[in-house]
Every structure is written in structure tokens, then in C-alpha cells.
Amino acid sequence: MTLDRPTAIAATGLRKSYGEQTVLDGIDITVPEGTVFSLLGPNGAGKTTTVQILSTLIEADGGSVRVAGHDLATDADGVRGAIGVTGQFSAVDNLLTGEENLLLMADLNHLDKQEGRRRAAELLERFDLVDAAKKNPMTYSGGMRRKLDLAMTLVGDPKVIFLDEPTTGLDPRTRRTMWEAIRNLVAGGVTIFLTTQYLDEADELADRIALLDHGKIVAEGTSDELKRLIPGGHIRLQFTDAAELDQAARTFAGSTRDDAALVLQVPSDGDVHSLRSVLDHLDVASIEVASLTVHTPDLDDVFLALTGHPAEARSSAEAGDESAETAADTVDTAEKENVR
């Protein structure tokens, strides 16, 4: 669907190492304009390093990069003029007010005074920061800071936006606000390069996802393509008595039964046809089902299958104060069964 679009980000053979430690081991990335590309991986996989290279902060040891038509090696300023970056570490001036931060960005983007004021007011409105405009960001909540941070990035109307773990440490409600903002940007034609360690976030937002592990891209594709890489989809039928379970087990050949839990798992790729066929069979045989859930393999399964370790694995040093949110999120993403 995106093949005919021009390329916003093209990186080939990107390498970076710090001393002995190889952080990026030759990665290739192609992001068509107006799409969301997500780099998914655990901490230490090289996500932030990739963003730092693509956003001109650090130089790669090897490889070539074009961003928005500008060559990173020869025209870094051209790249800078086309991009915006919002990282997981807040990049706001803590001694200026929210509004002053936005006006500072307007000045640095060389907007004239009137245009700058208009833009700042519009962004404050858009991110629900009008009441906090005259306040110091130190008094903001984590979510407000992140919103201000993104608003500052948007002052310059960037064509390509790098979001380095934009929702790490945010509460679920603010996460949704950020997701909504990101979707709106894409609707406006902006290209998004998103790094995340949250599988559901990539699933929710990205057109294409690359799984990064130990500096290498281990798989790339749409969320569905990645999920198809591994088997494991099934429809789970819950019964109230053993007789119904017996009858159902006879109806669906190849199914797996769990007598203790009164559960039957019917293999399925999770699409509507297979679901309808199961329902029809139940109907014809007049089998009473207490509940039915569809289990499709999620990115978590994919990551585990491809790398041998779960994506949420974090080093103890980095877990720190965010461990609570991460734990909550793990529970969230681990809910593999979507109740219909």
C-alpha cells in the first residue's frame, strides 16, 4: 500500500560501536513518506543510538543515510531543517514557562514574531496546555511535560518526526493522548519514526515494524506479517459442564481439550471465516458455550520466538522508577485473549 510513496528515511548498513561494544551491526531501514515505522526492541538493543544517528546527534561508523531527501553525511543541516525529535528524556527548558519554551522554538525556527505567537497559541490549545502556559514546566506532570516536549517539536512543522520511546513512563490515559496526537500527525502527512519497547504501541501505531535485537534487525514487516511468522492462533471455548465439552471435542477435529478447566482450544488463524465456521458448527450441534475468546499470536510471541527472550526484558539498572509502569504494561500486553 505504501510502495508508490517517496522515501522519507533510507538507511543502509548502519554501524556503530563504542570501543569493543557493537551497538548497531549493519541495519537497513526504509520508511516511506507519511507512514509510521516502529523500531521495537528491549533496552540496549540500539534503538536510541539509531535515533541519535538518524537525527544527526551522533555520527555512524559506517553506512549511509538519507532523511527527507538530504544526505546525512554531506547535508546534516538540511536533515535538521526537516526533522523534529522528541525523546524519552524531556527536552524542555525548566526555567522558562511552557509558552516561552514554544516561543523559543519559534525563534529558533526563524518564524516571524506574529507567526510564532500564533503557532505557540495553537499548539498550547491542541495539547490542552493553555492553563499551564504561564507556568514553569517543573510544576507539570510527566504527561504534560511530554506533551509540551512534542508541541515544541511541532513548532517547526517537521516532515519527519523521531519519537524515541514517547510514552515510556506515562500513565495509560496520557499514552492514549500521545497516540491520538501521533495519529493526527500521520493524517497530516508527517512521517513518524517511533522507537518503543511496548509491543502494543507498535501494534497500535506502526505501518511497519522492525524488531531490533543486539544491534540487528531480526524481522521486519507489518504487524500482521510478523504475527503470521509464528503459529499459535486458536479459538478458546469455555464450557460449564463436561458433556458439552465432550460433544464439542467430537465436533472439532484437531482441537485440544483441557478437562479440568472445561476448555477446548480450536486451531484458527483468527479471521472472521474461521470464527463463523466454528459458530456455525456449535449452532448446528446445539452446543452451549459459556464464553468464547479468540487468541491471535501477538508481537510478544513473535519477539520471543525470534529472539528467544521477551521484549520487556530490561536490565535491572534501567528498570528503576519506571518498573511499576512497565509491570502494569506487561500485564496489559500479556492479555493475549481478546474477549469477543
Binding site: 546527534l57 526533522i83 525523546g87 527536552a91 525548566n94 516561552e100 526563524h110
Partner: protein, 263 residues
């Protein structure tokens, strides 16, 4: 707009940012200007009588000492201000916003230029206040307009050089605490020079250091311009030190600033 015009505009924006930050956090500015004023009053009124007598003046020892003292205090004002520069640069580098600036199409040096110009203006304000207090307590220089211009010009040049040094120190500091400690040594230099007592009144080794360290020739040149004392080779030494410190610090600061960010 041309590259130069853009660089000027970005530097102006950064300057405005620094001014605003100081306005939000004025305690440091006040403290840095108060230090030389307190030193001036302390040395004039507490030590002045005795030190002035030691300089050879009998009848008007204190008044003579104030004349001797003020050029040293003016340079101490410069030294005190750069401590603030080092701290504010170090504080700034710890803010994520610097990384943001690096990913924007703005003039590379604008962040530093903003700091340097801002600190320089702050130093000028400090100098004006200290000079005002000096005149109020009886400092009566004999200089004509040209000599005033020369003295102020030299102090200003020296201030620019030291400000770049402060920027480099601020950039190289691993923490804000380090950034505030290192320049303390610089603030002490006027004491280990001819700022408060003549260098030749010190023990041999110290006297040699006191005579040739950067502050002494600058202080002596200012003293000579304002009060008509013997200038000797001090003007040359002063300019030499200023250029050496300025160029070295500028290059050092730029190198440090281009260094990739480490997280």
C-alpha cells in the same frame, strides 16, 4: 537570510533565553556582584588603613590604598562573574534541551555565543556597580577619556577571554559542583597577584608567580591607565595573556561542544 545573519539571529535568541533564565534565578547574579563589592568595602575599611600605611602613604593611608585596590577589585569582578558562567553552562548542558538544539537547523555556536554575550553583559553591569561604589568611597582616578577607554577596553577584552574559559570549564565539568569549584581558583588569582598588595612584597617564588600570572599585568595596566603609575611591559603581557587565554579557551570550548552527547 545569509548564514551570518542567521547565526546572529540564533545567538540573539539564545542570549534572550539566558537573560530570561537569569531573571528567573537572580540569586547567583546578585551573589556574584555582591562578592567584589564586599571585598572592596572589606579591604578599604577593615584592612585599608594598615595596608595603605604599608604601601608608604602616611597621612592618607586609607585613601591611597583605595586607589591601589580598585583596579584589583575590578578584575575580581570579572573573575567572580565567570564562576557564574561556568555554573550556568554546566547546568545547561545537563538539560535535555541542549540535545534538542543540536538536532535543529540553528547556528552551531549560537548556544555558546548566547552564554558568552550574556555573561559579558552581566560582567559589564557588575563592573559598573563596583566602579560606582568605588567612586562613592573616594576612588579618584586621574585618567583622561582615552585612558578610561583603554582601561575599560582591556578589562572587557580580558573578560571575554575569561568568559570563553568559563564556558569551556562549564562544558568540561562532569557535574555542576565541579563547574562551580574550578573557577574558584581563578577568583583567588587577584590575591596571588598584584591585586591587593604589590607582587614584590611577597616571598621570592610567590613573587615571581604573582608578577607574571595573567591577572597581574592586566591589573597593573589598568592601574597605570587610571592612576598614571609605571606601565613597563605590562600592557604587552596583558594583551598577550588575553589573546592566549581567549583563543585557547574558544577552541577548547568549541571542541567540547562538538563532542557527541553521552547518555
Amino acid at each position: 537570510m545569509s548564514t551570518l545573519a542567521l547565526a546572529a539571529r540564533d545567538s540573539r535568541t539564545m542570549l534572550r533565553r539566558n537573560m530570561r533564565r537569569w531573571a528567573r534565578y537572580p540569586a547567583m547574579t546578585v551573589q556574584l556582584i555582591a562578592l567584589p563589592v564586599i571585598m572592596l568595602l572589606l579591604f578599604a575599611y577593615v584592612f585599608g588603613g594598615t595596608l595603605g600605611a604599608g604601601l608608604g602613604g602616611e597621612a592618607s593611608a586609607r585613601a591611597d590604598y583605595i586607589e591601589y585596590l580598585v583596579p584589583g577589585i575590578l578584575l575580581m569582578t570579572v573573575a567572580a562573574a565567570i564562576q557564574g558562567t561556568a555554573i550556568s553552562v554546566a547546568m545547561d548542558m545537563q538539560e535535555g534541551i541542549i540535545a534538542r538544539f543540536r538536532t535543529m537547523a540553528i547556528s552551531r555556536g549560537a548556544v555558546l555565543t548566547g552564554h558568552v554575550i550574556g555573561s559579558f553583559l552581566q560582567t559589564l553591569v557588575g563592573l559598573a556597580i563596583v566602579l560606582g561604589v568605588s567612586l562613592a568611597i573616594g576612588f579618584r582616578p586621574s585618567a583622561n577619556a582615552m585612558e578610561w577607554l583603554g582601561a575599560i577596553g582591556l578589562i572587557a577584552l580580558f573578560a571575554v577571554a575569561l568568559t570563553w574559559l568559563a564556558v569551556a570549564l562549564g562544558l568540561s565539568a562532569k557535574s555542576v559542583e565541579t563547574a562551580s569549584n574550578t573557577p574558584t581558583l581563578i577568583v583567588l588569582l587577584p590575591f596571588l597577584g598584584s591585586g591587593f598588595v604589590p607582587a614584590d612584597s611577597m616571598p621570592a617564588g610567590l613573587s615571581w608567580f604573582a608578577e607574571y600570572q595573567p591577572f597581574s599585568p592586566v591589573i597593573e595596566t589598568v592601574r597605570s591607565l587610571l592612576l598614571g603609575t609605571e606601565i613597563g611591559n605590562n600592557a604587552i603581557l596583558a594583551l598577550g595573556w588575553t589573546v592566549v587565554i581567549g583563543v585557547f579557551s574558544y577552541l577548547w570550548a568549541m571542541k567540547l561542544f562538538r563532542r557527541p552527547p553521552v547518555r
